[in-house]
Symmetry: C2
Subunit: 437 residues, 2 copies
């Protein structure tokens, strides 16, 4: 068994979707004041914020937290921004942003996710001399659970998130991911992320939880929540998370997790329409990392099977998304055809003078037809380009999932033939370069 | 000194910009036939192709190379695609795509880079039991060296490329990057990539080079090259590269590098308007990786200084790009203002009947004014959104560069105070968690 030596190093991580849409979100300025006070008082090691849509609000927090959290990064992308911000008591050494390739539709103005340029931000933080890779993200919202037209988008985002985490975290001592995933705990995207990154959900990992029932982060008793958005989950839903994993060198334990409970003592309204999460993580140094690593090998077969199942589910969703997007692409083509007809009509009116006997009729109608035709043609063209790029993204995701699926299949076949013999579950190689554990 | 034990494992890597624009690039189908024959005959371990714009051409190559290169991946992004393809004799285990955030302007139809969705593709290849991370990329073209309006775009792309490589390659045994960087060897972006990733240029690393003078990959004697594009570099330029680096476990040596020389024996035209590169890499297993790692420490101070200088240069370019984009954003606003005036004009014509005395004049003019106004308003809005996202990207890059610069500064300060004592150049930490070498 691994010898774990407890050290005094704890890490307190905070995550909150701030609902910071200026001039739209209620009591925005006052709430940022409250959030700033909370962070300044609580002195979390790392605070991960989402929906900080205005840079001015980020700068306000940065000034307010200059002594408690001297390090901060605000991730900028899309038209409005990613809304993602990190405040840290420890030095941020580096930052990297991965903008999701698929993120709703620009014409869905009332949803507006597209304009946010949703992304996953990574900051590399030097925590007690350890390399902590801290990810903050916000995935596309779910506007209707019964008819979720954005499901393929969220699955592609989950896939890109897990791929990004998987491939950037290999040198990390400690990995933390926080944010608003807009998915229930057992939703496909969530299972996909957990199964393929090895990240563990602080809520299910901790023995000490203090917060809303079932860990809900969107609850009916919150002043700002629209009750109809929660139907059929009257009590609430859990869509905000802090996930974590250690490394061969350091193992992590979630000592406790808490959420706010829909109100703030002495204040007339809560911090946001979401509840905030605070996780207290203990870092344990594994002296026998090799032995510790070995502990995971025994269940690799099950893990690989689970990974395969969840990828297969995701492949089906992406395939469906692809069919739907191809239909939309065809409709954009039809729109362009219709627009061309509209543009031809005025020509017909000139050629058939009888229709133009009333100059007032011609004057108004021709102008409107030309204007409408031009706008529709341009819109059709833009929609066609948009759906074409979406198809490209969906196909790329499909191909990547196929590769992963094939790789898992060969691992499974290898494990059947000889048993898992390397720590990452890959079969032994016959190469002169043997992997060192 | 490190004991390096040569092993028989060699790796032959091929890179070519295929210039595969269907119905535009000359002799496209015949050239793909020739490229397929070449790859099938030469049996390179890994072939990295760029500008494979049509998926049909990729599928043609895939069929043709099904026995010589059973593994392939085609990266899909943007409207047309990324144009990036990988063919491999070794199993591709996984793939990941990072699309560059800044890639020209959609309205520059004659340049067309924007539609390509330029990106860096990563495939993870199991080579002789080693984890090889192979990157293929194609950066924004340089249309005028004297007045390079896309320089900030290419610098942002270089930055994103180096960040992506830096953060995804930490678990690799072997790292290879190939592609058309559209930069001369000593151009800023190229220096930025080399300094911050540690990747080494096969051309400067090898003792055995066989190819065009000075390693040029775009040469005047190539049948397809537009001679005016090369001015003032009459003989040619070197913009295609194979870069490489090893790891603590494996060191790499470029045994030889060759290029095609503008013609193909027995054929009336060359493979492409670019020359192809072939690198023969030797993999050496470092038994004393710790000692081997130590070898790099002595020059860390110089390396950090160089990294700082090159980041400072890049920051200046990004700053300039930001100013220029802000001007463009303001112009888009003016365009929208002008369009609104155009839309108001027909209203004035209705209110001032004297102007409408000639019905034919009104009929045509009003229609055109309305159509032009609508199209200009929509165009102005789209341009405004476009430049707003570009500003976001430039600011994000600026922030990331600032973080890196600060981090390097603190490393330099640390090295002055105590000397570099850890292999990655970071000063010793006082943490209970000491980094293990």
């Amino acid at each position: 068994m691994a010898t774990e030596r407890p050290v005094p190093d704890k890490l307190r991580v905070f995550s909150l979707n701030c609902w910071g849409i200026r001039f739209f979100s209620q009591h925005c300025a006052q709430r940022y004041e409250m959030i700033g006070d909370l962070l300044d008082r609580e002195q979390h090691d790392i605070a991960l914020l989402q929906e900080v849509w205005s840079e001015r609000d980020f700068l306000f927090l940065k000034r307010k937290l200059s002594s408690s959290h001297p390090y901060a990064h605000y991730f900028k992308s899309g038209v409005i921004g990613s809304g993602l911000a990190v405040f840290s008591r420890h030095r941020i050494q580096d930052a990297l942003l991965y903008q999701y390739s698929l993120n709703g539709h620009p014409y869905m103005l009332r949803h507006g996710d597209w304009f946010g340029g949703k992304a996953v931000g990574l900051v590399i933080v030097d925590v007690f001399g350890l390399k902590a890779q801290v990810y903050v993200t916000h995935l596309h919202a779910e506007y209707s659970r019964a008819q979720d037209e954005y499901l393929p988008h969220r699955i592609v985002q989950s896939w890109e998130l897990l791929q990004f985490v998987r491939h950037t975290s290999c040198g990390a001592d400690v990995v933390i991911l926080g944010g608003d995933l807009n998915m229930h705990p057992q939703d496909l995207g969530n299972r996909l992320i957990r199964a393929h990154t090895g990240l563990r959900d602080c809520y299910t990992e901790t023995d000490t939880f203090d917060g809303c029932e079932d860990g809900h982060t969107l609850i009916a008793v919150n002043h700002f929540t629209k009750k109809q958005d929660l139907i059929p989950f009257e009590k609430g839903i859990r869509i905000d998370y802090i996930l974590m994993k250690g490394s061969k060198k350091v193992s992590m334990k979630c000592e406790s997790l808490s959420t706010t409970k829909g109100s703030v003592a002495g204040k007339p309204f809560p911090y946001s329409d979401h509840e905030a999460l605070t996780a207290e993580l203990t870092l344990l140094q594994s002296e026998e990392s090799r032995q510790h690593g070995q502990r995971n090998i025994s269940d690799s077969h099950t893990a690989v099977s689970e990974q395969m199942d969840v990828v297969a589910e995701a492949q089906a969703v992406v395939k469906e998304g692809l069919c739907h997007t191809e239909t939309l692409q065809a409709r954009a083509l039809h729109l362009m055809g219709g627009a061309l007809l509209l543009l031809l009509l005025p020509l017909l009116m000139i050629l058939l003078p009888c229709l133009c006997s009333c100059s007032h009729f011609s004057f108004t109608t021709t102008g409107l037809l030309l204007a409408a035709g031009a706008v529709l043609l341009l819109s059709g063209l833009l929609l066609y380009l948009l759906f074409t790029t979406h198809i490209k993204v969906l196909k790329e995701t499909e191909d990547q999932m196929k590769l992963t699926s094939d790789d898992l299949q060969s691992k499974l076949a290898g494990s059947r033939a000889s048993g898992f013999s390397s720590s990452d579950g890959s079969p032994e190689s016959s190469s002169p370069f043997k992997r060192e554990e």
